[in-house]
């Protein structure tokens, strides 16, 4: 990359063409790797589990490299040679020139204060916008076909009347260059395969290498002819997308069972494919995903997304474009692969609609029971409602799904960028301190009034809304600048090939070329802020168990010397997650405020802002920057995650949790995340799994968006014995009933631990 940027041609080209030529340069010179037993080939880095860096986006310093190499969580091995190249060539060239540098230099003082206070995070400061998923277009069209589309688009350009005609042509030409670059990249793999073929002795492997060479010659130049070619084509496109930039959530084939099904059926019918072979190829694709770690993150981004996982969420099930049930044999085969491979990447999920047969759901539950957290379960009917509300067509809505963690999108047609997490709890804390961040003493927000002068919940909440709006606007003002930086300096012509309507519009994915351009700000801490506001209303204003002043004093002291009060706040106060009107009413008020502050605002790409509610790992980071809260939470502890109740606040069982969570208007979001923990015994037999199925169906009937299950093991139970405060919501099967583990006597707990160990999978 640095090499290319130093060249003359780089300096002379327009930005999109420069990026395209850089991409070409990369793919022409990248080392080709073909593993010994591989059938689907192509690596993100020099070898499996390696990942390149993107200095034009974020130039790691030598210190960063050291941290990456030595840190305990999510480390990345950095060898001496790499450090040397960084020291001698990369850093001198890129220091101060990466888009990250540009972003931080162009953000306002108020943005920086809010960012450092932990009010929000900035997704795009280390990684490019991505958050999109492929639809079915590559399975019927080779890159030659895309090339023809580009030419037609260029022909249609109106140089007389369209002031953007020139930019569009540059963009379209850039796209063409990238398409050709990928074709060449595939050819290089074919050449490598042929090279290996010359030295290969085993007849088995010779046959495979021949086929590999054939496949890489046909795709992605032409449309895929069979199942194998379809998979390899996707994988090349995937590698292209993550080579061009380091977009969030890598890339994702989306509704894989829908796209591959015609190839599967045809292969079986004409005898060129067997179920076993299809399974093997899918397993190999799974290995590919698992071997691609996310690009190394540092700083806040590392905290908010503390994982190697690069979030390719494979969708199965759902409905077809005509609305009928989409489950087919491949849907089941993919689940078999998920179960057998048991890998953290790719992620997998099932889309359950009212038309989805129970058998498919039951199959998913059998895997969930084995406790590695996949597949997660999504509500097709609700996803479609979300997309329709946002103005998508019915076809685009039905072809959509969820990606990343839980984000809803119209696959192949939408650019739905997550711009950063938003710490609702921090905003409340700043409100309670009249605009000051108590952690630093800095004036981070605006003055909204001295809280001890508030006489009612309404007064407090008015102040909160002002503070919320202030920070949302700071965030969006920052976003608008960042968006233009990417549009002008880091377009993604290769990615643009695959998302409608970039080619037709002649506009880049990062510049509003897609059919739908949505921005998200992810709300975090709904449970904590709800319980905190409920506590203030109940204990301060209504029951008058403590004055506002007294409460604030206790918070400042982190409850030291105020344990009685803290216990009251924890145990004698209404809490979200118990199907209790009081607390859930507060939750709805918070939701409406967050929604009104964000939904519908325009972005710079002709699209709108929407909200979603998911945390990845940021609830831990955000919690570290927030002091004690009125719900009884101590300073520095994580805030609540997703839309789940505060850890341990739900004491009435999973049906009450679901009733509470259902009071969120999921349809007006772009995704919500609900985690539930169960002990394996609850799912031990058919009956147990049926019941879990009923629970899910009931939640979905109430328009819940998503649910995922953590099935715990004996070690977790032992942890729960040691730290009951962290496991208040853990349900176990006792005798003929279930109860909260932490409520049981030690003897009974040990008995259950013994049982669990015994019955482990």
């Amino acid at each position: 990359m640095t090499e290319f940027y130093k060249s003359d041609v780089a300096g002379q080209s327009s930005v999109p063409v420069r990026r395209a030529l850089a991409f070409k340069h990369l793919l022409e010179n990248k080392r080709i790797y073909i593993g010994e037993h591989e059938l689907i080939i192509g690596e993100r880095g020099l070898a499996p589990k390696a990942v390149p860096t993107y200095p034009e986006i974020c130039c790691h310093s030598l210190k960063d490299l050291e941290i990456l190499n030595t840190r305990k969580k999510t480390p990345y091995a950095v060898d001496e040679e790499t450090k040397r190249i960084y020291k001698e060539e990369i850093i001198p060239f890129w220091k101060g020139k990466s888009i990250r540098d540009a972003i931080f230099s162009k953000m306002s003082g108020e943005w920086k204060k809010a960012y450092e206070a932990g009010v929000f995070t900035e997704f795009l400061e280390q990684r490019a916008p991505g958050h999109t998923v492929l639809d079915g277009k590559i399975y019927g069209k080779g890159l030659i076909g895309f090339g023809k589309d580009i030419e037609r688009s260029i022909e249609r350009l109106d140089f007389l009347n369209d002031p953007e005609a020139y930019e569009k042509r540059e963009e379209l030409q850039a796209m063409k260059i990238t398409a050709e670059a990928l074709i060449r990249y595939a050819e290089r793999h074919a050449e490598k395969a042929r090279e290996l073929l010359k030295k290969e002795k085993s007849p088995e492997r010779r046959k495979e290498l021949k086929k590999i060479a054939e496949v890489c010659t046909n795709v992605p130049t032409n449309a895929p002819r069979d199942f194998w070619e379809a998979l390899q084509y996707y994988w090349f496109v995937h590698l292209g997308v993550i080579a061009e930039l380091n977009p969030w959530d890598s890339f994702n084939p989306g509704r894989l069972d829908q796209h591959l099904y015609p190839f599967y059926r045809k292969g079986l019918e004409d005898g060129t494919l067997t179920k076993e072979k299809a399974k093997e190829l899918l397993q190999l694709l799974w290995v590919k995903f698992n071997n691609q770690p996310a690009p190394p993150k540092v700083g806040v981004t590392a905290e908010e997304s503390n994982t190697y996982n690069d979030f390719a969420l494979i969708n199965t099930g759902g409905v077809k474009i005509d609305g009928s049930d989409g489950v087919n044999e491949l849907s089941y085969l993919i689940l078999d692969v998920v179960e057998e491979m048991r890998l953290p990447q790719p992620s997998s999920m099932v889309q359950i609609s009212k038309k989805t047969p129970d058998d498919f759901l039951r199959r998913a539950l059998k895997i969930i029971k084995t406790g590695f957290g996949q597949p997660s379960v999504f509500n097709t009917d609700e996803i479609i409602q979300e997309l329709l509300r946002q103005g998508k067509s019915i076809e685009d809505a039905r072809n959509g799904g969820a990606s990343g963690c839980v984000e809803t999108g119209a696959f192949g047609k939408e650019c739905y960028i997550l711009t950063g997490y938003f710490n609702m709890v921090k905003v409340l804390e700043i409100t309670l301190n009249n605009g000051i961040d108590p952690r630093t003493g800095q004036e981070t927000g605006i003055e909204t009034g001295n809280p001890v002068e508030f006489d009612s919940f309404d007064e407090l909440f008015e102040a909160f809304k002002k503070q919320l709006n202030y920070f949302v606007e700071v965030k969006i003002k920052g976003n608008n600048v960042i968006e233009r930086l990417y549009a002008e300096f880091l377009p993604a012509p290769f990615l643009s090939l695959f998302i409608d309507d970039c080619i037709a519009n002649g506009k880049d994915y990062n510049n509003g070329g897609a059919r739908y351009n949505t921005n998200y700000i992810q709300g975090v801490g709904l449970g904590t802020i709800t319980d905190s506001l409920a506590a203030i209303t109940y204990q301060v204003f209504e029951e008058k168990q403590v004055t506002f002043e007294g409460l604030l004093k206790a918070l400042k002291a982190n409850f030291k010397g105020h344990e009685k009060l803290r216990q009251k706040l924890l145990n004698k106060t209404p809490k979200y997650g118990n199907d209790d009107e009081y607390a859930d009413g507060v939750m709805k008020t918070v939701f409406e405020a967050y929604y009104s502050a964000i939904d519908g605002r325009p972005n710079t790409k002709g699209g709108r802002y929407r909200i979603n509610l998911l945390p990845t790992t940021v609830h831990v980071y955000f919690g570290q920057l927030v002091g004690a809260t009125p719900d009884g939470r101590k300073a520095g502890e994580p805030v609540s995650e997703g839309v789940s109740p505060v850890q341990g606040a739900d004491r009435k069982g999973p049906t009450a949790v679901i009733k509470s969570v259902s009071k969120i208007d999921h349809v007006r979001t772009g995704g919500t995340l609900l985690n539930q923990k169960f002990a394996p015994e609850l799912l031990a037999d058919e009956e147990g799994m049926d019941k879990l199925g009923f629970l899910i169906r009931a939640y979905f009937k109430l328009d819940g968006h998503h649910i995922q299950f953590n099935v715990v093991n004996a070690d977790t139970l032992r942890e729960a014995q040691k730290h009951p405060e962290k496991f208040g919501d853990l349900l176990v099967r006792v005798a003929g009933y279930s109860d909260y583990f932490v409520n049981l006597s030690v003897e009974l707990q040990n008995e259950i631990i013994g049982r669990t160990e015994h019955k482990s999978f």
Partner: protein, 258 residues
């Protein structure tokens, strides 16, 4: 039947609010717990109101039919999916037969499935009054020998068995529950007699409920004396033996609640 004061020691933070507020002077704060004079305590609940952690709680309260129905309605969406419903248990629900009757009417009106978990130790008229309104009976059968039954439960089993016979004549959806208490009712003789009796009534399904000791903690927290300390729960092998024996008689046996 009256409310009782429950003290869960593992939640107590020894703040002393309870001792300070007790109108009967029944509570004393000690080094690492409180002590409650059960004789003086009248379960008024003052202490539990003041208790910040919920370590002290009054368990058992009066509720109206409307209040119960409101709770039941909360889960209606789940019953719709699962065709599950409400189980009335206890204690002994048939000891509050008018209340139970009213609740059964409400459930039937709503089309919610009902189950009653009983030991049948009431008058036949009581059973008669509600039996048509109940979808499923969960019926406890502990000891077939009347003398032994009187020894261990304090009452005769004659009414229990007669009520069972009457129910079984008019319906076959009775789930028999056989609590297995080692050294009390798990002997070969009782197992055989239980099997014969159940089958003679045309009932085929039986659940074994292994004795467990979750009750010890509960008794302790209520200041009650637990009299069965010497008895250990049955082992897996013992349960399997009983299961197999019952199966040889022709019964469909499940270990656990069913």
């Amino acid at each position: 039947m009256a409310p009782e004061l429950m003290y869960r020691r593992n939640r107590c933070i020894k703040c002393g609010e309870c001792a300070a507020s007790c109108l009967q002077e029944a509570i004393a704060l000690q080094a690492n717990r409180i002590s409650i004079s059960r004789r003086r305590c009248n379960s008024c609940g003052e202490c539990s109101q003041k208790c910040p952690t919920g370590a002290l709680a009054v368990v058992g309260k009066e509720v109206s039919v409307e209040e119960v129905v409101k709770e039941i309605d909360k889960d209606a969406v789940f019953y719709d999916e699962s065709e599950g419903g409400v189980t009335f248990s206890g204690g002994e629900p048939l000891l509050q037969s008018d209340f139970l009757n009213a609740l059964l009417d409400e459930c039937n009106e709503r089309g919610i499935h009902t189950a009653v978990d009983t030991c049948g130790c009431v008058s036949p008229e009581t059973v008669e009054k509600i039996s048509d309104k109940v979808d499923l009976f969960l019926y406890d059968i502990k000891l077939l020998d009347d003398k032994a039954h009187r020894k261990y439960t304090g009452v005769s089993n004659k009414a229990i068995l007669r009520n069972f016979e009457k129910l079984a004549r008019n319906r076959n959806d009775i789930l028999v529950r056989f609590p297995i208490v080692p050294k009390v009712n798990d002997g070969k003789d009782n197992v055989a007699k239980t099997a014969e009796f159940v089958l003679s009534q045309g009932i085929k399904r039986i659940c074994l409920l292994p004795y467990h000791r979750a009750g010890i903690e509960k008794y302790r927290s209520l200041g009650r004396v637990y009299k069965l300390r010497r008895i250990k729960p049955p082992s897996d092998q013992e349960l399997m033996k009983i299961k197999k024996r019952l199966e040889t008689f022709g019964l469909d046996v499940k270990i656990g609640g069913g």
